[in-house]
């Protein structure tokens, strides 16, 4: 089954962007930009400022991908699912939260930070912001290719569980104290996948699954999400 790739969004050390926005996409090691609400949402947004950095980059890249696909605005909730691969999840938020527990012996743990100590919470923020009612989950896999989340999203569409899915990766830089233990490249990338392609927007081509489970982009094997995005965007 061919699935249309209809939107791309990202937050990487090189900057923010979406497929049709004209920004350059690159995912190389470095520091992520500090996102402001105005860079992500043109209108005031009470929730954005209090989110963890991990949640902000995940939510922002989903917002950009939906904008690119023409799906940012909505009036009724939609059964769109989200699957993201992550190596470290919300480890940075976990450390920030636990530091509110330690110094005071547990007397001042931050309930707001605790709410963001689940790796899937940014998906809940995206669900609220964009009215998305599909299945949402974070996947940990070997390596940082994001192939598992992309494959699972494609399967979910092929098996009739969802018509539209967001698939991507989301990671912050490894915390300084663990920098030698992990080699994660920070960034969040999401793509919008649809089983029913739009005839009004050009999109980026078609994804499908080979019989052995490998991911095909316009009929050719794609290694992972980052390589796929480079290929998609180089053709523009």
């Amino acid at each position: 089954m061919d699935v249309a790739l209809s939107g791309i969004g990202w937050v990487t050390p090189s900057g923010i962007g979406w497929g049709g926005g004209g920004q350059r996409f690159d995912l190389t090691p470095g520091a992520l930009p500090v996102l402001t609400r105005k860079e992500v949402f043109p209108e005031p947004n009470q929730r954005f400022g209090r989110q963890s950095e991990y949640s902000k980059i995940g939510l922002a890249s989903i917002a950009f991908a939906l904008r690119d696909a023409g799906l940012e605005t909505w009036t009724e909730k939609r059964p769109v699912g989200i699957m993201a691969a992550s190596q470290l999840g919300c480890l940075t938020t976990d450390l920030d939260y636990f530091h509110t527990v330690l110094p005071q012996g547990g007397s001042l743990p931050s309930p707001n930070l605790f709410a963001y100590t689940l790796a899937n919470c940014f998906m809940g923020e995206a669900a609220i912001q964009f009215g998305l009612t599909g299945s949402t989950m974070v996947i940990n896999e070997a390596g940082q290719s994001g192939a598992a989340s992309l494959r699972m999203a494609l399967e979910s569409i092929a098996w009739g569980e969802h018509d539209t899915m967001l698939a991507g990766i989301c990671d912050l830089q490894a915390p300084v104290q663990f920098a030698e233990s992990f080699t994660t490249t920070p960034g969040a990338l999401f793509m919008v996948l649809s089983g029913q392609p739009s005839h009004q927007r050009p999109g980026y081509g078609a994804l499908s699954l080979a019989g052995n489970g490998s991911i095909l982009y316009n009929g050719k094997e794609a290694a992972g999400i980052v390589e796929l995005l480079h290929t998609c965007l180089s053709g523009r």
Partner: protein, 375 residues
């Protein structure tokens, strides 16, 4: 679509080291919720949780490893090429605590991939992923496993679900004022919060063809599954239960059955005011005024977070086998809408299908339909 069979099930909880012990103690109405001895609790709103005695690791090692070793002790062999799906929300969170306190710990434990690699050395799996979807993690892991087998992507999946009792999570729920002072009281008029727990569940799922070739016992069928986000709030459920209704509706459709075919419900039933009310609202929308037997295990073993759904599947299959639904421990005075559904005594289960549901932070809801099954 291939039928999906559960051929082996194991559960480890505060009530004991195996599923049979858990089952007998659930029927006896016992609770493992008791004062915590693992960390100081004097600054938190309670000192009670369900925890596994003797879960003491070697220095610098996470408790998740002895938990898994205990869980998998005596578990049947896993066929070569099996897909591994784990489900955990916080994995080796105790290693993070140790490291932040300046004690010995392995930083690699902070990445779930490390745990997957450790499991990959124990079992001949073809691939491995972990699913994190808050307190519905293992429910969604079972759903994913069922979808893989049903659609012919593989013939065998091992689902391992686990989470620890940690000061990290305990302090957070305490800060949210979400913990019951004593044992939680699911669906009770005077419920006032959840009791945390820890545990693990293991489910070996197979296609009928493989189960037959391997001469495996058939504990039951995963007949339907569904998951949905209620898109309402990060830490609170939608009051109208829309996400849970959507997830259950998907599961019924997948199973090819209607609400009247459900013989019993294993509810998430955390004992918080809002979760339980949301579930009652959703069940009313789905089942109307039917006096359908329902229960929650959270008063007995606490809320085991990412392990909850897997343990509840193991218990649900046991319920289908025996025709009995265990008591809801902690319930004394049913909340409006829970009368006639939940009981602190065991209830008889009629029919061949049991619905089990879980919900969690981030708006997640998931549902599974378990069925008696033969090849």
């Amino acid at each position: 679509m291939n039928r999906v069979y559960v051929t082996a099930a194991a559960a480890l909880s505060g009530l004991g080291p195996d599923l049979e012990t858990l089952w007998q103690r659930l029927l006896a109405g016992e609770s493992a919720v008791r004062p915590i001895e693992r960390f100081a609790t004097d600054r938190y709103i309670t000192n009670n949780a369900s925890w596994i005695a003797g879960l003491e690791p070697e220095s610098g090692r996470s408790r998740i490893y002895p938990l898994l070793e205990l869980l998998l002790d005596g578990f049947p062999p896993v066929p070569a090429g099996t897909v591994l799906i784990t489900a955990t929300t916080k994995g080796c969170i105790d290693s993070m605590e140790q490291l932040q306190k300046g004690l010995a710990g392995d930083p690699h434990d902070l990445q779930v991939e490390h745990l997957l690699q450790w499991l990959g050395r124990k079992y001949p799996v073809s691939s491995a992923i972990n699913i994190n979807a808050a307190c519905a993690s293992s429910t969604i892991a079972v759903a994913r496993a069922a979808a893989l087998i049903a659609n012919g992507r593989c013939e065998s999946v091992l689902v391992l679900c686990m989470d620890l009792l940690s000061e990290f999570v305990f302090s957070g729920f305490s800060a949210l004022q979400g913990l019951a002072i004593n044992t939680c009281r699911p669906f009770d008029l005077n419920r006032n919060g959840l009791s945390l727990g820890e545990g693990g569940g293991a489910l070996l799922m197979m296609s009928g063809a493989l189960a037959r070739r391997e001469k495996r016992p058939l504990l039951g069928v995963i007949a339907g599954w569904g998951a949905a986000n209620d898109a309402t709030h990060i830490t609170a459920p939608a009051r109208d239960g829309c996400g849970l209704v959507q997830a259950v509706t998907q599961a019924l459709k997948k199973a090819g059955i209607g609400p009247d075919d459900i013989g019993a419900v294993s509810a998430h039933g955390t004992g918080t005011v809002y979760n339980d009310q949301m579930e009652l609202t959703a069940f009313k929308a789905l089942f109307g005024d039917r006096q359908l037997p329902m229960h929650s295990v959270k008063g007995a073993i606490g809320h085991t977070l990412g392990a909850a759904g897997g343990i509840e599947v193991a218990v649900g299959l046991r319920s289908l086998q025996s025709g009995v639904l265990p008591p809801t421990v902690g319930l004394t005075d049913p909340a409006p809408g829970a009368e006639g559904l939940f009981s602190n005594r065991e209830q008889q289960l009629t029919g061949d299908c049991l619905l089990t549901t879980n919900s969690g932070f981030g708006g997640v809801n998931a549902a599974l339909i378990l069925q008696r099954g033969e090849l």
